[in-house]
């Protein structure tokens, strides 16, 4: 979960490193995924989690359940129906018009009540602004462990959830267990897990649970909601092609070389964390553990050394191309294709060469 551990060595001498699950926790069974929807839109991270949850449930030989919380009516019903297409064995719903907008108080109540009533052993949520706001409150209410931003989820031989995440600012990975508390909670960032295939299936068993609140019980009011303009939104996480730059670019002015290549490729552009910390690029363009996780078909990293915190954000790419002056940079350990050269010099040539290669004119020539 949690804050970074205090030593890098396995936590020896710790009181509860053995699994001694108390009797009342033994009733906790099955794997749950919280289905996040905002204004009728299910966040894709929820389906990605269903894919991961399905694997855990199969290993544990238990059910996979989706939890859909939202307003009464079409949006919540269709989210529940979709959950079956992404592998749910059953769906819990809390449908109430007080849940039309996300509010911490009402959603925490809804999810905590369902957990306390139906007792899952594992509960997964997306590490979005909504999921993190909710997960922290629910885990604290239930006094259980919560592991944030996992990059890998597995089941150990003793049936415990083994949740792996970067630690120490992303310089190492650690595997975290919640041995003696239930549910074992974890969040995963969008795009970390692959999108599972959608299989059309009929609606299965739906268990609805009441919210049990009236509007006066909820202190926080939503005065208005301003949706992002589509043009202002970067599609970095879901882009097919991404070009990113790092400290090897040397100066903020040189970052335009990255943007120019991205434009020619119809790609999204991004950067490594140091460029955000230096203020060269805005944080919505950051790729890595604390930024966006990407799974493009092609990822070109220019002047990025490839620290672990960056690596975990790009490893899902089909093809990783690294450009770096340092042949010993860690990025060459996980790139598929690399070139040891100065990105500042190569990028303009690469942009020109791609432009020539991809122009309709040159394609006609190839065809003829």
């Amino acid at each position: 979960m949690a804050t970074a551990p205090k030593t890098a060595a396995p936590a020896s001498g710790r009181a509860a490193t053995k699994k001694e699950l108390s009797e009342h926790f033994k009733a906790y069974k099955h794997v749950w995924v919280f289905i996040e929807q905002e204004r009728g839109q299910v966040h894709p991270v929820s389906w990605e989690l269903m894919g991961a949850g399905r694997k855990l449930a199969d290993k544990l030989k238990v059910d996979l359940a989706a939890v859909v919380i939202g307003p009464e009516g079409e949006a919540t019903q269709s989210a529940a129906a979709e959950s079956f297409c992404y592998g749910a064995d059953l769906v819990y719903t809390v449908a109430d018009n007080l849940l039309a907008d996300y509010r911490n108080e009402s959603y925490t109540k809804a999810l905590t009540d369902v957990v306390n009533t139906y007792k899952p052993e594992i509960l997964l949520l997306g590490a979005t602004t909504l999921g993190r706001d909710l997960a922290g409150s629910v885990a604290t209410t239930l006094l259980t462990g919560l592991t944030a931003d996992c990059t890998e989820l597995d089941v150990d031989t003793d049936c415990s959830l083994a949740a792996t995440r970067p630690t120490f600012g992303g310089s190492l990975l650690c595997t975290i267990y919640t041995l003696n508390y239930r549910p074992q909670m974890a969040t995963v960032r969008p795009r970390v897990m692959p999108m599972p295939e959608r299989v059309a299936r009929p609606i299965g068993r739906i268990v609805s649970h009441p919210l049990g609140l009236v509007e006066d019980d909820i202190v926080t009011k939503v005065l208005s909601f301003l949706p992002d303009r589509d043009s202002a939104k970067s599609n970095l996480a879901y882009a097919d092609v991404v070009v990113a730059g790092g400290l090897g670019l040397g100066s903020p002015e040189n970052f335009q070389l990255v943007r120019q290549l991205a434009t020619v490729l119809g790609a999204e552009y991004g950067c490594s964390r140091p460029l955000v910390q230096k203020g060269w690029v805005t944080s919505d363009r950051q790729i890595g553990q604390t930024g966006k996780t990407i799974r493009p078909k092609l990822y070109i990293a220019a002047g990025i050394s490839g620290a672990i915190q960056h690596r975990v954000g790009v490893e899902g790419a089909d093809l990783i191309v690294a450009i770096n002056t340092d042949g010993n940079a860690p990025i060459f350990d996980f790139a598929h294709v690399g070139i040891v050269t100065d990105a500042i010099r190569l990028l303009p040539a690469l942009t020109a060469a791609f432009r020539a290669r991809l122009s309709p004119h040159s394609r006609d020539r190839i065809a003829s």
Partner: protein, 280 residues
């Protein structure tokens, strides 16, 4: 008005090095800083105090050396600093951390006045969990506003606060009641330089130092390692891919050679890129 700002002293992650053989963190000589995200919370709190009057108390839990970060916060203009330090707090995960911090905030409440607002940063740069803010709020029964881009109104008489909260697809304008916990989003303000008078005061100011007992911790088993439901079983560096990157010679035409290598590995990309590129 009384505002408590929770900060954390963290290693400057840009300078963390991992021992290549033992996979342990080489801590020697790594400078510590105030978690950068916390500075946005501190500045937001100072701005409200400047506008509405009152006091800002900074609180941290950490080793005795975390006093440095508290003094730094005082140079920015915080009025009071509280250091929660005790070996019982060591090794805390986020649940145990929120227990200790919530206990300390209750004690601050009785000693220095109940806070109207508690601020934290969005997350820390070492743990990156974003869980401590919501956890403190839950334990203290405070309402919570996370990922706040802007505090648009504060009404101390009506006891309400309006804030713009970043959500995945837009911005929620929320109104809630005080006391409330706010986690500030990054890049929402710029930490002040701090006045000379504050720097002079900070150097000599007494730091309130509390052990677990001083802070009023009733159940020591809820603190530190013992109070943490999560257990770190293994820390490791990821393995390199079995197949190293195919290196392109940077000869006469490196760009063309690189493009050839890309399309050779992923032949379908050429058509897809041409289609994508035409969209622009």
């Amino acid at each position: 008005m009384h505002i408590v700002v929770c900060i954390k002293q963290v290693p400057d992650s840009a300078q963390i090095r991992v021992h290549p053989v033992t996979n342990t963190i080489m801590r020697q000589g790594v400078p510590t800083i105030i978690n950068p995200y916390d500075l946005f919370a501190l500045e937001a709190a100072l701005e409200l105090r400047d506008q509405f009057g009152g006091e800002v108390t900074v609180l941290t839990m950490g080793p005795p050396s975390a006093e440095d970060s508290l003094r730094k916060a005082l140079t920015f203009g915080a009025d009071r600093a509280v250091l929660l330090t005790d070996r019982f707090f060591a090794g805390a995960d986020t649940l145990a951390t929120t227990y200790a911090l919530a206990t300390a905030i209750r004690k601050i409440s009785t000693e220095f006045g109940a806070p109207d607002l508690v601020f934290t940063g969005k997350q820390t740069i070492d743990g990156d969990t974003a869980q401590v803010g919501p956890g403190i709020a839950k334990r203290l029964g405070l309402l919570q506003l996370t990922y706040v881009a802007k505090i648009s109104a504060l009404d101390l008489e009506a006891r309400t606060i309006d804030a713009e909260r970043r959500s995945e697809g837009g911005v929620q304008l929320l109104r809630t009641r005080l006391p409330c916990l706010v986690t500030m989003l990054e890049a929402t303000n710029q930490i002040r330089r701090g006045a000379m008078a504050d720097a002079l005061r900070a150097a000599r100011a007494p730091i309130v130092k509390w052990s677990a007992q001083d802070a009023g911790v009733e159940d020591i088993s809820k603190c530190g390692l013992r109070g943490s439901p999560t257990i770190v079983k293994r820390v490791f560096a990821p393995a390199a891919r079995s197949e190293k990157a195919a290196l392109i010679e940077s000869g006469e035409q490196p760009a063309e050679a690189l493009i050839d290598a890309i399309f050779k590995r992923q032949p379908a990309l050429e058509t897809e890129l041409a289609t994508l590129a035409r969209g622009y």
